[in-house]
Symmetry: C2
């Protein structure tokens, strides 16, 4: 581990609510309980409780956003470049919370959790959860921490969907909202890629209708799903820069199926690594939650969806992001402005594609730290 600018050693905590009979009501009509959320916090909550920032993670993220869970860890949390002393989310100033999502597989209640009614894993008996359900669960966590109002809710990709839903569902609780590289509804192309991933998982004979816990898991299928996903997180240009058409471990073609381009080896490596850290059923549930998310449909229009919103917004997109293209961020900005909501929009020029929100970026750091600083002042009551 590296300690410079780091929050250091952090512990993942767990919050459980909705114990029977007070189960959580889900958007789809089902009830779920008990519900556990894994979460981490960095920095200290101010006496007035006005410095709390909630970080929402993307599809494959988890509660471990910064620092190290043990001194042996080689890699820090997934957004460590942004969270820590002196960083964009300055833990000397702010109390940063990162919560895992329901449906996930990183310590929160999901399809791999034990169904109290059967004492077996839920598998596909787990109800379909939505982005709103994820946010409702986080709301309970934030309440439990004694926070009345969040200074900011921030997240990229699916995390950005949660940001939008937070501002819509709990307008009085969100002072600043920062949705990054996200959308108010997935494009059919993005749904199509999700469905390819799901088909790959569900076609894997080890999937056995989702009842694979304790047996071999559908690793081939999940690996292929991750490979497809990974292509959509990069851009044509970033792949040219990163791999071009270079071969792996050789200079010339051998004209066989063993010869690999570097991009092939890289994707297979990424796929195989993912299998070790992610649950295939969670992948099904979370991608479905993303596909279902549709603010314009749910609220009649995107303008309507934002009608009650009281947050000040900073919307950020990336020029080369073709999975959540900038036009989708612009739709959000337009609908916010139609409601006279204060919104700053920045399209960051980059070749890094959708993944850009996870990468080191001076511009992103500066935008966010300034927005938090000024936004805090401007939303002071």
């Amino acid at each position: 581990m590296s300690t410079e600018g780091s929050v250091g050693i952090v512990e993942t905590k767990y919050f459980t609510f909705a114990e029977a009979p007070d189960k959580m009501e889900l958007e789809g009509g089902h009830k779920l309980g008990p519900v556990t959320l894994a979460y981490e916090t960095y920095g200290k909550l101010s006496p007035s409780g006005d410095n709390a920032i909630l970080i929402c993670h993307a599809l494959s993220g988890d509660a471990h956003a910064a620092g190290y869970n043990s001194p042996e860890d080689k890699k820090p949390g997934w957004w460590d470049i942004m969270i820590g002393p002196g960083k964009a989310f300055d833990t000397d100033k702010y109390f940063v919370i990162c919560s895992n999502i329901i449906g996930g597989c990183k310590g929160s209640t999901g399809p791999g959790s034990i169904n109290p009614e059967t004492s077996q894993p839920y598998c596909l008996d787990f109800p379909v959860v939505t982005i709103r359900d994820m946010v409702d669960a986080q709301k309970r966590l934030v309440d439990s921490l004694g926070i009345k109002r969040l200074l900011a809710v921030v997240g990229g990709s699916m995390g950005g969907m949660q940001v939008l839903q937070w501002a819509v569902s709990y307008p009085n609780m969100v002072r600043l909202a920062v949705p990054i590289a996200t959308t108010s509804r997935l494009s059919p192309q993005a749904i199509a890629f999700d469905e390819v991933g799901r088909q790959a998982i569900m076609s894997d004979p080890d999937w056995v209708d989702g009842k694979y816990y304790g047996k071999s898991s559908p690793s081939h299928g999940l690996s292929i799903a991750r490979m497809v996903g990974h292509i959509t997180y990069l851009s044509d240009k970033s792949m040219h820069k990163k791999f071009a058409r270079r071969l792996q471990d050789k200079a010339e073609y051998d004209y066989d199926f063993v010869t690999d381009f570097q991009v092939e080896s890289y994707l297979r490596y990424k796929g195989d690594a993912f299998v070790k850290r992610f649950d295939a059923n969670s992948y099904l549930y979370i991608t479905k939650a993303m596909d279902y998310f549709d603010l314009p449909q749910t609220y009649g229009s995107l303008k309507n969806a934002f009608m009650q919103v009281k947050s000040k917004f900073m919307v950020i997109s990336f020029t080369s992001d073709w999975l959540f293209p900038s036009y989708q961020s612009k739709e959000i900005v337009k609908a916010l402005r139609q409601n006279d909501i204060d919104v700053i929009y920045t399209e960051i020029k980059t070749d890094c594609g959708h993944d850009a929100f996870l990468l080191e970026s001076e511009q992103l750091t500066r935008l966010i730290s300034n927005f938090l600083k000024h936004g805090k002042r401007r939303t002071q009551q």
Copy 2:
């Protein structure tokens, strides 16, 4: 069948060459023989033999480009909108040949063919073939038809790769070359999508190292490969137009894994339909041939590759094609011009993505018929 503007009933023919001991030498160093090519012809060869046009097909195409193989056929050949009396490839004027490729599964020698040495299907003992090998085989077919010089070689996507290779390998045989929606080398992104498809096939337990002939075929894997491919053939916009976020057979979400967006049903339907007409091993070989194709690498540079070229070119790309983006066509045009080769370049404005070359298009029809007419005159000797 519909007879208007159609070439009518056509018969697929077969040409066999490279019988032992005169096997065909492949680019990868292996020898293959005998080699059979399935092909069709439409129209009549002129007495001077100066009106022959070779059509090269894409990944999943075949020799049946126009007309009907039987009166019961509901659909005509894959480029029937372009080939027939009065159409772009006017069969009243031209003698049109469409040849299947080696490595394929539509009547030509491929991994599913019988290996004369074992009397069993080749399976993965079939040698890796390249675009140059496909073209070399077609050259033998064209020779066998008594054609000294082709008026034109035309094709889209992988067919366009063959067009480029024809002009490079047999400069004296190609008067006009029309590569459409193609590239002199695949991008790493396109290679990555191909690899996802291959992994899906090879992860299917029914693939059994390619030795599935006579048993169940790896249909799940091939279907997923096709689904991925199909997404890359469309564009974000065309998918918005075609499907938007509409649900299949219902108005509202049921919040389950059965509820489908139309785009999901469509892709699964396309995947399942493909499995019935295509061989999984051929999919592996043909995508690998596309990945390996790299004129700049093979000839030192793209300019060098075109040094001996004598054809007049018309290069066509489509604005919304993100699999074979226009910048790749522009690279071809630039390298041709560096060699003082006569080249017309047109970027057709369309939302239809890569698939645009297969769709009805007045502009494409006009461009090609004019180019053939004037080109024939201008290359007259």
